[in-house]
Amino acid sequence: MTAPAQKTEGKGFVGWGVLGSLTVVVLLVIASLVIFNVVYPVDIGTRQPIPFSHRVHVHTKHLSCVMCHTGVTDSQRAGIPPLQTCLLCHEHIITTFPYIQKLRDHFQQRRPVVWQRVNWLPEFVYFYHSVHVSRGIDCSVCHGNVALMDRVIKARKFEMGFCIQCHRDNNATHDCFTCHR
């Protein structure tokens, strides 16, 4: 009398166990695909609070990168332009377009536009833009063809292999202390 009851219980347990572990395996597979960028190799770019298009400004209007990213030639960071820079032109042109109106509102209220960061380095890596630019490394080497991007995407994964490969190709330093300290 007691044996079948035991069997039923055992069956139920096995069924749930298989299902559970299957779910876990599937989730792990999905997770690893996402982690290693197999599912979404390059996304379409982060949505920004104001849909600023690099394509329009760089490709169509032929603005230079350094016009807005002024720090790139003489400092560590390229710099995100202050709103004042946008207003240099948009004080006069396309002033009524809704997003430019929003930009002007921000400026008038002295409220910064909070952009979504696209490219970043871990905190134990120190990278100097000016040194690379002064050696003639084009922005596109790391940032891709920004001129054709509406929303900026991360063109390269900034992993150590990427940096080292370029340093190797250009016979540049391999000193750990150059980037890590």
Partner: protein, 971 residues
């Protein structure tokens, strides 16, 4: 049986995996916030520099602050400032920790009499106080020493409301001022010039630590006491320094001769030397001779100092081309100390040093500090209708005996940045700006005008003291007016108007340009006041004999000797981790104070090292751990000032015991009176960073006699194995030779210059984000300091110590490198011994294999409590637990200069790179540079200085740090 089932475990791990996979890029803030209108000259992600003036003590050094993205991260000396010339002491370095102190006052507190404590608003406070002032309440102001505009505002305020203004400084140098008043009719602290002296004698004045203007004197002392190899006469020479006192302080340890006498005999030695010098000097002192004879006749023979020694010192003092006598100690208000100061002043006068090395035409601002008599006179007049404003000083901690007098005031209003002992007794506690956030000025000497400017925005809802007094005066119905006319709306306007008034004399510029250039250079400094003579008062001799006769010896009684350390000064900085964690220079004790007792005394009392002793005077008693040492004389019980806070903050509270409870009213019988000692229950060893100061025949710190050094030509001396390819010996070296292409960074450390103050170590904490981990962990050997200044005893000498600043030696054949299994310890292309944190897995093999023991392991994850994290240097990685770290020669500074030079397409200039330790060192111990550049200073010293040596050279590590031996004056 585990409480977690297999199913739950799988469920959890699966869930975690998904969570990790989907929440990407968690460690950075994924936002970019640009400026709207960028401030001029401040570029995001780049350093900018602001000049201001240090207000951590009354010395008034110039500061240059490293500013990054709206926050100040490091305080350095202003190279243009005449007081400190770019250098800074450990206390000045810690200014940023004061600014970002998590315990800083952030809101107003109101404690109505008889009611519960409550939070207040500015409107409430100003309304309340304004009404009371308008209703006829008198206002007395007690403030830490100020000069210039703020002093003028405070004085005007006190006068407008019928009160007095007093500058409260616990170290008020009353004996010095008293002696100068009685001898010359000048109750001032003159300026001293040690730099050109051949001979200095100090009677208990710790001028390298806390006496008047320590950074200035340390710089001058280095000039005087370093081996000057480029002396005009050709032969290297150096000045001689003799210290007379009861305790081997850091200053005494730097003396060529330390004469140990009991506290009450310091004045006798001074008087005896004075007596022996009469007739040999330039000025006639025969008028004081009879009084001096009587005085010395009354006291017994000067204990422990033979007459020949006295005569020799007197002769050396008067015959030197320049010499100076200094008298301490800090914090004493006794007549004994005034006698010693009087004797020192007469020595200077007799030898013709007034106008030469002692300048009364250039009095220090500290001359204005209130004496005990003035304090009591003002405080006793207070009544229930009066308001006592206490600004940036803490009299209830440092003069607890004044509490009943202060509490006579109806209302105590505290203006400051910390909830200290005085703030806790106040009815109103008003948070003021930290000096780095406010406008102001400070002139330590007439003509040396340092300016203060806000170097960052306010952290909290605070108010500048100047604006507060102006507003209160307005609400009290009496708008203050400048002495030069006009009543500016705010304090900044007042300050600017005052500075414009200085303009015609100082610089023929347009007003705006003058103001900008003053802000940029940190102030204006005119030519120094020429030395002027003084006339000896007719009753000069009366200075002697006012003090008490020597105290009779008694086994349970000792003479107190209280001292202000280079780190803790008068105790105002006790809530700073860096200051508490920095070891005392000579004893290596941190996080607490202790009492020094002589072995003889300790034996008589049955006290052993590490026991707890109770010191008792009529004013109070304290319990302290005992260090038994011959560094104090047998009659002495020596305790440091600055510990035992009951308030101030979480770090300071309860660390050590307050020696301010002991001296009470101005004492007699030694500089601080006497105390009774008994053994108390328990034992408590102070926390040491270094347990042994012996060298054990390893010759870590080496000495060379002056006669020998001065005979040697450049290039003679030890032939060092250099950390260069030329240092490679096939038969000796296990690893292949290292080649360097561009640079080989190296350092030279001149031990003769090092005074042991530890400024380098604190600067390193500030620059390199080194964690403060607390006393107990350090007692377990988990010290984090990348550079330590280790005191080592000179072999064969009882009290001779040498200080050895020991950073990573950046060895060419570094023992740490081959043992790292993951190549985290790497030799870099420029000779630096790099530690790559993101590679390190924490085996600690490298540290085990390091013969210099300069590698530090992170045993815990340190949380930088807000807003202390704002101080972190963004150019240096913050290390986490399980990672080894060490000195990098400040690679971030090397890189900054290298990259700058690369962008500008030029070579790096010698001396352009300065690691933080070298930058701050008040005595310029460190020389940093490139060994591959034959013309660099560091190359020349490493290759040719006759005093050069490597620490543990026989290990063939080929260190990149070369030391220059200390120099002994031949007997």
């Amino acid at each position: 049986m585990s409480p977690i089932s297999r199913r739950t475990f799988l469920w959890l791990t699966g869930g975690t995996g998904v969570a990790i996979a989907t929440a990407a890029e968690r460690k950075v803030v994924n936002r970019l916030i640009p400026q709207v209108i960028p401030p001029e000259q401040i570029q995001p992600g780049e350093w900018s520099f602001f000049a201001t003036t240090c207000r951590e003590c009354p010395a008034g050094c110039g500061l240059q602050l490293w500013h990054r993205d709206g926050r100040v991260t490091k305080a350095e000396g202003n190279p243009q400032h005449p007081i400190n010339r770019g250098t800074l002491c450990p206390r000045g370095q810690s200014a940023v920790q004061g600014l970002y102190d998590p315990d800083r006052l952030q809101t107003l507190t109101y404690r109505p009499k008889g009611g519960p404590e409550q939070k207040g608003t500015w409107e409430q406070a100003l309304g309340f106080l304004g009404k009371q002032l308008a209703g006829g309440g008198r206002a007395a102001v007690l403030s830490g020493l100020q000069t210039g505009a703020l002093a003028e505002v405070m004085r005007g305020f006190a006068q407008a409301f019928g009160g007095r203004l007093l500058w409260y400084e616990r170290f008020n140098y009353e004996p010095l001022k008293r002696a100068h008043r009685e001898l010359f009719g000048l109750p001032v602290i003159p300026s001293y010039d040690l730099s050109g002296c051949d001979f200095i004698i100090s009677f208990g004045a710790d001028f390298l630590e806390s006496w008047i203007s320590p950074v200035e004197y340390a710089g001058q002392f280095a000039q005087m006491h370093a081996l000057r190899s480029q002396a005009p006469l050709g032969r290297p020479r150096m000045g001689r320094f003799v210290y007379v006192g009861p305790r081997l302080s850091m200053t005494a340890a730097n003396a060529d001769e330390f004469i140990q006498v009991p506290p009450d005999a310091v004045r006798l030695v001074a008087a005896a030397i004075l007596k022996a010098s009469i007739g040999h000097g330039k000025q006639d002192l025969s008028s004081v001779a009879p009084a001096l004879n009587a005085y010395l006749g009354r006291g017994a023979a000067v204990p422990g100092v033979p007459p020949e020694k006295i005569a020799e010192l007197a002769q050396a003092f008067t015959s030197a081309s320049a010499s100076v006598a200094l008298a301490g100690p800090v914090g004493s208000m006794s007549l004994d100390a005034a006698e010693a100061a009087g004797a020192a002043a007469l020595l200077n006068y007799g030898a013709g040093r007034i106008g030469q090395t002692v300048n009364f035409a250039r009095p220090h601002a500290l001359s204005n500090a209130a004496t005990d008599e003035e304090l009591r006179a003002v405080l006793t007049t207070l009544g229930p209708n009066d308001i006592l404003f206490v600004h940036e000083c803490n009299p209830l901690y440092s003069r607890p005996e004044l509490a009943p007098l202060m509490k006579r005031a109806g209302t105590i209003v505290y203006l400051g940045t910390m909830m200290d002992e005085t703030a806790q007794a106040a009815q109103w506690v008003l948070p003021t700006d930290y000096p780095l956030e406010s406008w102001g000025e400070y002139a330590p000497y007439p003509g040396v005008n340092g300016i203060m400017q806000p170097t960052m925005g306010r952290l909290y809802d605070t108010m500048g003291a100047g604006d507060l007094f102006l507003e209160l005066a307005r609400r009290g119905g009496r708008t203050l007016t400048r002495s030069g006319g006009g009543s500016p709306a705010d304090f900044q306007g007042w300050l600017q108007a005052n500075w414009q008034a200085m303009r015609p004399a100082a610089a023929p510029q347009a007003p705006e340009a003058f103001w900008t250039s003053a802000l940029r250079s940190g102030g204006i400094w005119g030519t120094e006041g020429a030395g002027k003579g003084v006339t000896l008062a007719a009753k000069a001799a009366e200075i002697f004999g006012a003090g008490a006769p020597p105290h009779p010896a008694d086994a349970a009684t000792a003479q107190l000797w209280l001292w202000g350390s280079v780190l803790h000064f008068d105790g105002r900085l006790a809530n700073r981790g860096w200051i508490q964690e920095a070891p005392d220079p000579l004893t290596s004790i941190m996080w607490g104070n202790w009492v020094d007792l002589h072995p003889g005394k300790a034996k008589a009392l049955g006290i052993a090292d590490g026991d707890v002793a109770e010191l008792e005077t009529p004013s109070g008693k304290v319990q302290l751990p005992v260090r038994v040492t011959e560094e104090v004389s047998e009659e002495t019980a020596a305790v440091a000032f600055g510990f035992g806070h009951q308030a101030l903050g979480r770090i300071a509270k309860g660390v050590g015991a307050s020696s301010y409870l002991l001296p009470g009213a101005p004492a007699t019988g030694g500089a601080f009176g006497t105390c009774r000692i008994r053994k108390a229950a328990g034992c408590e060893s102070p926390a040491y960073t270094m347990l042994d100061r012996e060298q054990h025949h390893r010759d870590i710190v080496q000495w060379a006699p002056l006669s020998e050094v001065s005979r040697m030509a450049p290039g003679e001396g030890d032939q060092l194995i250099l950390p260069l390819p030329e240092g490679y010996r096939k038969e000796k070296d296990l690893y292949p030779k290292r080649e360097y292409k561009a640079h080989r960074w190296a350092m030279v450390i001149d031990l003769q210059r090092c005074i042991g103050c530890g400024a380098c170590s604190v600067a390193c904490y500030a620059e390199n984000n080194i964690a403060v981990i607390g006393g107990p962990r350090i007692s377990h050997g988990r010290e984090m300091s990348w550079i330590r200044v280790a005191p080592y005893r000179k072999p064969g000498s009882k009290m001779g110590y040498g200080f050895l600043p020991l950073p990573c030696q950046h060895c060419d054949a570094a023992p740490c490198e081959p043992v790292c299994p993951v190549f985290a310890a790497m030799h870099n292309e420029e000779g630096l011994n790099a530690q790559i944190y993101n590679r390190c897995i924490g085996t600690r093999y490298c540290s085990n294999n390091c013969p210099y023991k300069v590698r530090r392991f992170n045993w815990v994850n340190i949380r930088w409590e807000r807003p202390l994290d704002l101080q972190l240097n963004p150019e240096v990685t913050v290390r986490s637990r399980g990672v080894m770290e060490k000195c990098t020669f400040c690679v971030q500074r090397i890189r900054q200069v290298e990259f700058q030079a690369a962008v500008e397409r030029r070579k790096i200039r010698d001396g352009e790179i300065q690691p933080a330790c070298a930058q701050t060192c008040p005595t310029r111990v460190f020389t940093f540079g490139d060994l591959l550049d034959p013309d660099s200073q560091v190359s020349k010293l490493t290759r040719t200085d006759p005093r050069r040596y490597h620490v543990l050279e026989d290990l063939n590590t080929k260190p990149a740090v070369t030391y220059l031996r200390k120099v002994d004056i031949d007997k």
